[in-house]
């Protein structure tokens, strides 16, 4: 059992959890994730490790209520427990030094980008960050990202906050102005695809983090297989970070929809069962 130490909403549908995981906390590195289960009949889902406190023995997870499992997690409060949390999993981010790196985060992907941005900053790089979302209430971790960056730009699709437009518009401005050594992009697959397509034109190496469907997360099921430069890789153990210019995004976008019908069924049942608790979250998701 893993006890939730604290829970804090970053937006109406996104919450930050600090969870007691004494074995995982001291081993976490930027880029790692954990697999959690929220209930005894629950599925195993991967969640990025945003932060950890080795002294306190806690890890930080930031979760957006989208499917049944994430919605159920967001009904949990400080003091509640989840049955399973295992990690750290995946390859940590390789760290460079003395480079200019653009870190691009989209939506809740900013939570996954934050630990990488911090690690890159701490290892002595110049960091230009771009954080984007559909609208103002989905912009998260702005202050944390600003603190980890030399410069930060914020965009929203609807212009309700920061600059109106996409993160790629802002990225293009940077690329037209100077040539960074690398780009890190984490967010929805279409956003990472668009970033990778743009940076390819400018010849800037780009790393993306792929959230494929997983069962075990340790290389056992092969459900998370992705095509990288035409070769089969497992996102859980070979990744989750890959060269964005080599990723077959279209294939992954389709593969991630394999279980949409089932997910909707789970979601519908959960919403009915937890009508009150889920009402608020589901309204915002729609």
């Amino acid at each position: 059992m893993f006890t939730i130490r604290s829970k804090e909403f970053l937006s109406p549908t996104i919450a930050r959890f600090i969870i007691e995981a004494p074995y995982v906390a001291p081993k976490r590195k930027a880029g790692n994730f954990v697999i959690i289960r929220v209930s005894d009949n629950g599925e195993r889902i991967p969640i990025t490790l945003v932060d950890s406190d080795p002294v306190e023995g806690t890890v930080t997870l930031i979760v957006q209520a989208i499917g049944k499992t994430t919605k159920e997690l967001l009904t949990k409060e400080a003091g509640d427990t989840i049955p399973d949390l295992v990690g750290p999993l995946g390859k940590p981010t390789p760290l460079h030094a003395n480079e200019t790196i653009v870190c691009v985060g989209g939506g809740v992907g900013t939570a996954e980008l934050l630990p990488i941005t911090r690690a890159l900053k701490e290892s002595g790089n110049r960091i230009l960050s771009i954080v984007g979302a559909r609208s103002r209430d989905l912009i998260i971790l702005e202050d944390e990202m600003r603190a980890a960056s030399d410069a930060l730009a914020v965009t929203t699709d609807d212009g309700s906050y920061g600059k109106k437009g996409f993160v790629t518009d802002e990225l293009k401005e940077i690329l037209d102005r100077e040539k960074p050594d690398a780009v890190y992009a984490i967010g929805p697959l279409p956003m990472m695809k668009a970033v990778s397509a743009l940076t390819k034109v400018y010849g800037v190496h780009t790393t993306v983090s792929l959230n494929a469907l997983m069962v075990d997360g340790t290389g056992m099921c092969g459900g998370c297989r992705v095509s990288i430069g035409g070769r089969m890789k497992f996102a859980c153990v070979d990744g989750p970070e890959f060269d964005g210019h080599a990723v077959d995004f279209d294939e992954l976008i389709i593969r991630n929809r394999s279980y949409t019908v089932f997910e909707q069924e789970s979601n519908r049942r959960f919403t009915e069962e937890h009508a009150c608790a889920a009402q608020q979250a589901s309204e915002v998701v729609r």
């Binding site: 209930s39 599925e43 295992v86 340790t218 056992m220 092969g222 294939e251 593969r255 279980y259 789970s266």
Partner: protein, 485 residues
């Protein structure tokens, strides 16, 4: 023990082999309840009287863990079923499991003297009967522990090999911790073998007995990631480590279309169903997406498990596609037989060449090629050769690849100085020792894909070697202390 059966051998040979009742195929295709109901006590006694009580019991040498089969069968004959179970437990810690999943027809029963002219004694079914009898009647008494030892031993993986090693060492007085990556205990017995072959109540009970010996099991712990082998030894204070992480990395064929939706590794498919209980969706959260027509590629027990599971999940046509012929299939005879009864369609001497896209990145069919058998290969089996122009398309929406697994590389990659062997296995010597002092390995991680019983044998061998290693280290300490006086 001398012979106790009053019947003459010629009379015993006239008794036909008992057959355990099985649930009808149509009934069992609708659920995940066990196929074989096992012997009744009367059946068990009759079957036991068939044993010739050979003075040189070859069955014991045919058993990878050398169970004293003759003695346990004599106890069955005398209706001392609990005594029989205890006799087995002297050599095998998980008899209710072995009685169900061992390939007896190629081990103990293959060498049974009675089997030369008649059908061999049903040793497997007798083993299962006495283990179940002990379990059902709650007559299990944990074996006495020898003296308490100071040293702690870490066992990595809670499959058959790890559980066996842990049980032996705990009984020898060591503090044993088992580290399991998944959230549930049992390894391949949990995620791989379906409930219709090994009911979860049986597995849970056997696991509880190992825990009852004082073994501590830490789930959600990936050795290599949560802690490395060196950290377990240097920081956590484990004096020895047994690596029993199995062969968990699934193989694919490298043919076009393997990333289409509807293609699974057998590992993923079976893990969804067995570990995550996807058959109960939406009561549980993990689904499994299965078409009405399913092809499983492979000829081993995993392939049988996957194809029979597909049938139970509602597949109208379930094909088993294997590149050699039925004789070369490595699966247990009983499973092949059950699969045939359950309406599985066997496509022998057939190999996939391409999986066809329906235009929406989903499986529409599988193009296969017919094969002919050539000369025997290194495994002794005749190797398949493609027949040109024999391609045909199999109409399926789901393809499950059950063509083998190799060890997960995480421990090999994070343990400096750990030598590896063929196909990513951990290299071991006769006593399961690795290139790193104090680190032992066995089961599929060193074999690359074998049976439950061989994994258990390795676990036993390693436990003995670990005890020897720790005792000799303790002696060194004493001698050094003496020398320094």
């Amino acid at each position: 023990m001398s012979a106790i059966n009053p019947l003459k051998p010629s009379q015993r040979m006239k008794i036909p082999r008992e057959h355990a009742p099985e649930r009808p195929a149509l009934e069992r295709n609708g659920d995940f309840v066990e196929v074989s109901l096992g012997f009744t006590s009367d059946q068990a006694v009759v079957e036991a009287t068939r044993c010739l009580e050979c003075t040189d019991p070859v069955c014991t040498t045919g058993c990878p863990v050398n169970i004293d089969i003759r003695s346990f069968i004599q106890l069955v004959m005398q209706r001392d079923f609990v005594g029989a179970a205890r006799k087995i437990r002297e050599s095998n810690y998980l008899p209710a499991i072995c009685g169900r999943v061992c390939p007896q027809e190629s081990q103990c029963e293959a060498v049974c003297t009675l089997g030369k002219k008649h059908e061999p004694v049903a040793i497997g079914k007798l083993e299962r009967f006495v283990a179940d009898y002990e379990m059902t009647n709650k007559l299990f008494v944990p074996p006495a522990r020898t003296e308490r030892r100071q040293e702690k031993v870490a066992v990595v993986g809670s499959g058959p090999s790890g559980l066996t090693c842990a049980a032996v060492l705990a009984q020898r007085g060591y503090s044993v911790s088992v580290f399991e990556a998944l959230h549930a205990v049992g390894g391949v017995l949990r995620y791989g073998i379906p409930e219709f072959r090994l009911p979860r109540t049986v597995l849970d009970e056997e696991v509880d007995r190992v825990k009852g010996l004082g073994v501590e099991i830490q789930t959600n712990f990936v050795v290599g990631m949560t802690a490395t082998v060196d950290e377990l030894m240097d920081t956590w204070g484990y004096a020895a480590v047994y690596l029993a992480t199995g062969a968990g990395t699934p193989h694919f064929m490298s043919i076009p279309g393997e990333n289409l939706i509807g293609v699974f590794s057998a590992n993923e498919f079976l893990t969804r169903v067995n570990l995550m209980r996807a058959y109960a969706f939406p009561q549980v959260d993990t689904p499994v997406r299965l078409g009405k027509r399913v092809a499983v590629v492979g000829g081993g027990n995993t392939a049988m498990d996957a194809v029979r599971t597909s049938r139970r999940l509602g597949a109208e046509r379930a094909y088993l596609v294997y590149r050699r012929s039925r004789q070369e299939m490595p699966a247990r005879e009983e499973e092949i037989h059950h699969a045939e009864e359950e309406g599985i369609e066997f496509l022998m001497l057939t190999s996939p060449v391409k999986i066809v896209d329906n235009g929406r990145h989903e499986v529409q069919g599988m193009i296969c090629q017919k094969m002919a058998l050539g000369e025997p290969d290194s495994s002794g089996r005749r190797s398949p050769i493609p027949i040109e122009g024999s391609e045909f398309t199999l109409d399926v929406e789901t393809v499950i690849m059950a063509i083998g697994q190799s060890p997960n590389p995480v421990i090999q990659a994070t343990t400096p100085g750990l030598k590896t062997g063929k196909k990513g296995t951990v290299a071991v010597g006769e006593k399961q020792e690795t290139s790193r002092p104090g680190v032992f390995a066995g089961g599929d991680v060193s074999r690359g894909g074998a049976t439950v019983i061989l994994a258990m044998r390795d676990g036993k061998t390693a436990a003995a070697a670990i005890e020897e290693h720790l005792l000799s280290k303790a002696r060194e300490v004493v001698e050094e202390a003496k020398a320094s006086l």
